[in-house]
């Protein structure tokens, strides 16, 4: 119980693991960049919530999971979904509303689901994922299937009632759930300090008797160590953990929105501490050859190009889909 110090064994994260985190980081980073480029050029028209700056948090968290573990995330979730392993092709096709999308184009960017990779729910409602994550955890507890559920949410979610109800329930039932708060410093356009009474979200956990840790989410080793410890605890029956991963949303709330409310100094600091080049440099420092990293990036660019092509060339869903999946039985025409 209480606030563990930021994982002290952070230095023990091995190079292979860091390289895997980098692979996922680069996939997220380049996917996000591609979305914005295609939106900018007018090729795509959709509401897009950028994840620039939060790549390493997800990449490290999901690397600590088993493929069959569960994920619940939010509308700003493309980093979480990709890090969890959703195939880029069907992600892109879903974002573009195509029949070949993960959800046949019926869910869209804010409602990505892909149970095969454990992406169980993506919600567009702030805070609503937390109670649902408890249900996934409860299922694992009742079935004894050993799965762990991770639920991702922003700092803004911690001021809505669902957060508090879910934290309490997870704690009293010792559910195998990891609550990953990606504290990106802004809830929509309002700064964290202007919206949240607690100076640190992690300080709310003792009120629920929950283990909690605050880490530099943009440091791959520190983030991974905290993620691994929380996942291991959950899997061993030790109950839930709240991780407050400090990160930063480097772009506006939604693509195209004005972010002039962000102080210049904060933005400059964030750019200096950009987690993606930081992890890349760390790997170079660990004697990973430049060619290895470049090779990873090149391969990812190929995967993304193929996914974009697949999405753009895919057909839209049949109009008859409106009658399907409303209820178990198709609605009569």
């Amino acid at each position: 119980m209480g606030l563990a110090k930021a994982a002290s064994d952070a230095a023990d994260v091995d190079t292979d693991t860091l390289l895997e985190i980098y692979r996922r980081t680069a996939l997220i980073n380049r996917t996000d960049e591609k979305f914005r480029a295609l939106l900018m050029s007018g090729t795509l028209r959709l509401v897009y919530y950028p994840v620039r700056g939060q790549e390493v948090v997800s990449a490290a968290m999901m690397t600590a999971l088993r493929p069959d573990d569960y994920l619940v995330t939010t509308y700003r979730g493309v980093h979480d979904q990709l890090a969890k392993g959703i195939p880029p092709k069907i992600l892109w096709a879903e974002f573009t509303g195509k029949a070949t999308g993960a959800c046949k184009g019926k869910g869209g960017p804010m409602h990505i689901t892909h149970p095969e990779t454990g992406v169980m729910v993506t919600t567009g409602i702030v805070g609503s994922g937390l109670p649902i994550a408890n249900g996934l955890g409860l299922s694992s507890l009742l079935k004894g299937d050993g799965r762990v559920t991770v639920v991702c949410f922003g700092d803004g979610s911690t001021n809505i009632g669902a957060f508090h109800e879910a934290m309490n329930m997870a704690s009293i039932w010792k559910l195998p759930v990891v609550f990953l708060c990606q504290n990106n410093r802004y809830g929509e356009h309002t700064a964290f300090a202007d919206s949240t009474s607690a100076g640190r979200i992690v300080d709310r956990a003792p009120g629920y008797g929950m283990n909690a840790v605050r880490v530099d989410g943009n440091d791959a080793s520190e983030m991974y160590a905290a993620a691994k410890a929380a996942v291991d605890r959950a899997r061993a029956g030790g109950g839930p953990t709240l991780i407050e991963a400090m990160t930063y949303r480097m772009l506006g709330h939604v693509f195209g929105s004005n972010a002039s409310y962000v102080p210049k100094a904060l933005q400059e600091e964030a750019v200096r501490e950009d987690p993606v080049p930081r992890l890349r440099q760390k790997l170079l420092d660990l004697q990973v050859p430049e060619a290895t990293l470049a090779g990873i990036e090149q391969a990812i660019d190929g995967v993304i190009a193929e996914a974009v092509e697949f999405a753009l060339s895919s057909p839209y869903p049949d109009i008859g889909e409106i009658r399907k999946d409303v209820l178990g039985q198709e609605i009569a025409a």
Binding site: Y70, V72, G101, A102, C103, K104, G105, K106, G107, G108, H111, T113, H114, P115, M120, V121, T123, G124, I125, S128, L130, P131, I132, A133, N134, G135, L136, G137, L138, S139, S140, L142, K143, T149, G161, A162, E165, A166, N168, M169, I172, K324, D325, V326, L327, G328
Partner: protein, 330 residues
Amino acid sequence: MNAPLKTISFSQGINMALDEAMAADPNVFVLGEDVADEQGGGVFKATLGLSAKYGASRVRSTPISEQAIIGAAVGAAITGMRPVAEIMFMNFLTVCMDQIVNHAAKLRFMSGGLTSVPLTIRCGTGAGVGFGGQHSDMLEAWFAHVPGMKVVTASNPADAKGLLLSAIEDDDPTLFIENVAMYAAQGAPPEAGYKVPLGKAKVVREGSDVTVITYGRPVLEVAAVAETLAGEGVSVEVIDLRTIAPFDAETVLNSVAKTNRAVVVHEAVKAFGVGAEVSSRIHEELFSQLKAPVGRVGSKYSPVPFSPPLEQAWLYSRDEIAAAIRKTLG
């Protein structure tokens, strides 16, 4: 074996359905405030004895946290479990509407059918027992208006058992509404395994002059009025919808096509209620053969009052039902 019961109460009917469902399927579990025996087996005793039989892990008392209750049920349901969540009073659904409307009802569609939510939500409500404005509302129309939700209510203990068992086995989220004024009501006991199909209304009394469409507790009131009117030579056909959504248009329209007159009766306030939908469907399909406009009876347009005379006056009445029927006869 215990001696067969001569009659059972509404609560016992619910208890029987839960018991059978839990015995048949390890994926069925119950959660809600005070549902385990240690906490009394539910405030209306509907879950009494189940935690002794199946364990407090499967009959799980919860904090007073409706969002967390329904959220947990939704999450478990998408992994293939069949939770039965008890929300003590229907008005408490208002504090977990997000989980019901935005998640339970929509996840199947939004996931393109990759996930589904085989969740049953039980709730009690109803006026006439003195709970006042925040524990008595009939809000079925709210939920029937949400694509993806099923809404069910029973008028007798055997139906309660049969409908609840079907709801638990159904693959869609279903709201099961119980009238608190009826928990102690006695009725004929159903046989083991008895189920009532969802989506099917029942003609509970055959007649030829006018069709009355109703559901839940008013079924009893309408039946009593029909009996009285029979003495006056008026033949009333009574339909118990049993499932409000999806609406069994076939049974209703077939009946009205025969009688050419219809009245809809429910406990919910009349304005913007289920009666408006049913009436409209009948007008749309059978306008040319109707001998009178479809009548509606509901409760008065105010919050449910506490003071007993006000509460009784608020409720729909047998006189109003009889008057609405007579009005269609011209």
